[in-house]
């Protein structure tokens, strides 16, 4: 079991992650940052990141209804070859494609679908977390 550090006193919980490209993509992998969100049922990634890796959200036939604080919208879903974060690897995981505002320094949201078969421990005083 690996222990990860985060700032438990301010800001979001940022998680380092990487994703592998689809077989047809021009790139092999991408390192990026996600916000850990136990209120999100699915994992969401920046659309431009997915497109760079060769995924085509606009061509996806799989969609979901995404509920935010002020809207419900239909968003495309793509299935990643591999998503890695918190020492875990998920193969074939579906993620929602979403565009984030340019000034926000995150690339997506790590949701409950990534966490469900594990035990997530968050120590806000110590700034330590584990996913076992």
């Amino acid at each position: 079991m690996r222990t990860f550090s985060f700032d438990g006193q301010r800001g979001p919980i940022i998680v380092s992650a990487s994703v592998s490209a689809s077989a047809s993509g021009p790139a092999d992998s991408h390192e990026f940052r996600l916000v850990l969100d136990t209120g999100a049922t699915v994992t969401t990634l920046e659309a431009k990141l997915l497109e760079f890796l060769g995924y085509d959200p606009d061509a996806s036939t799989e969609t979901v209804q995404v509920v935010t604080t002020d809207s419900i919208s239909t968003r495309p879903v793509v299935r990643l070859n591999r998503l890695s974060a918190l020492g875990k690897h998920r193969l074939g995981i579906p993620v929602v494609s979403q565009s984030f505002p340019r000034g926000v320094k995150i690339d997506g949201v790590l949701g409950l679908d990534f966490l469900r078969d594990g035990i997530l421990s968050l120590g806000f005083r110590s700034g330590r977390m584990t996913l076992s």
Partner: protein, 75 residues
């Protein structure tokens, strides 16, 4: 701009821009340690276009600078 830099050097040189990093080095926890900054700018989309044009295979695109104190997330 093609020298290998550790993340602290990248932050010091290029914040608050977005940077395109080729062959990023990470630790066993997948946290970014450093890499070669091949481009920088205020627009993330431009960096993805540059990465495609250069035919890069393993990248990181990172917004530098501190988390803004008056920016909160309600996802």
């Amino acid at each position: 701009m093609d020298d290998y830099l550790i993340l602290e050097e990248i932050e010091a040189r290029y914040a608050p821009d977005w940077v395109l990093i080729d062959e990023p080095q990470t630790d066993e926890l997948q946290q970014l340690l450093g890499g070669r900054v091949v481009d920088r700018g205020p627009d993330r989309d431009d960096l993805y276009r540059k990465a495609k044009a250069l035919g890069l295979h393993h990248i990181a695109v990172r917004k530098l600078g501190p988390w803004l104190e008056d920016l909160v997330l309600v996802l």
